[in-house]
Subunit: 175 residues, 2 copies
């Protein structure tokens, strides 16, 4: 399936010069969503994935579906103040300032086979923080999986340099 | 399956006197998550659901899984500033002040059969705003579906008074 045709590109959003890749139009299409989840799950069907860790918030949509598809549990990687129990926290850089990602300390057991999931990887700041959270819990991170990769921004390669397998269904040039 | 055993209750969170019902522990359990999605989907398998509309952010986890389970698309109902395209907006009351929920104006076609999904219904403020968004798009709202209902807070009954069928997998007394 040509997944790119389902992505809406919004010029100059959120600021001039940026081509925003809107994945909501793919998710709203039942056929495209089903095929995308099938394709994201396919490389991992042969092994037992314990947890799918989805990044707040679009990674939750894909991660929830992938969890059920692969017979795994779901772990939420969330913005500060959203998880009610004890958390690990990781800070990461934004263009201006920093943000944090949190994960419940009891969400992942040491040695759990985990997939990290989000809708899009750009510079990889958020995904890198997610990877750090999973590694603090001593997860066995099998791969990071995305709908969209913007390879010119280098995030996927940065994750690979940290030793993680990275998969995506499509790439767009530029940013 | 006794779903209640998978919910973690956190006393005095987020403030004294509140028993917080933490659904992340159910979602982290692969068996419980799979059974919960099966049970949430079961009443709707016989009809063609077009869209599952999930509420930001825990409703995304369940809604993503339900979309694929039912062969539907996924529509995101989000906090302000999160959707990149033109949106409908609905304001709703919080304990102190108000908040807003947004939906892309082209997410739902008139007559689409839609399920509204979130993890928990309490007073029903957010779900009511979601329902209003769907009705502005002229959706045929088949039901609102939740993991947890807190019936003492009256939200499920308020939705029923608006003519919507409401389903939940478990109820807890109090708030």
């Amino acid at each position: 399936m040509d997944f790119k045709q389902f992505i809406r590109t919004i010029p100059d959003h959120p600021k001039p010069g940026i081509l925003f890749r809107d994945v909501t139009t793919l998710m709203a299409n039942a056929e495209a969503l089903k095929h995308a989840i099938d394709a994201m799950a396919a490389p991992f069907r042969a092994q037992k994935i314990d947890q799918v860790a989805g990044i707040d918030a679009r990674g939750f949509i894909l991660g929830g579906a992938l969890s059920v598809e692969l017979g795994a549990g779901f772990t939420a990687l969330r913005k500060p103040g959203k998880l009610p129990w004890q958390t690990y926290r990781e800070e990461y850089e934004l263009e201006y300032g920093t943000d944090e990602l949190h994960m419940h300390t009891d969400a992942i057991k040491p040695g759990d086979k985990v997939l990290l999931v989000d809708d899009l990887i750009a510079t990889g700041g958020t995904a890198g923080a997610g990877l750090n959270l999973l590694q603090r819990a001593e997860a066995d991170v099998i791969a990071a999986v995305f709908l969209v990769d913007l390879p010119d921004l280098g995030g996927a390669n940065r994750l690979r340099q940290q030793g993680v397998d990275v998969h995506s269904l499509m790439e767009f040039e530029g940013h």
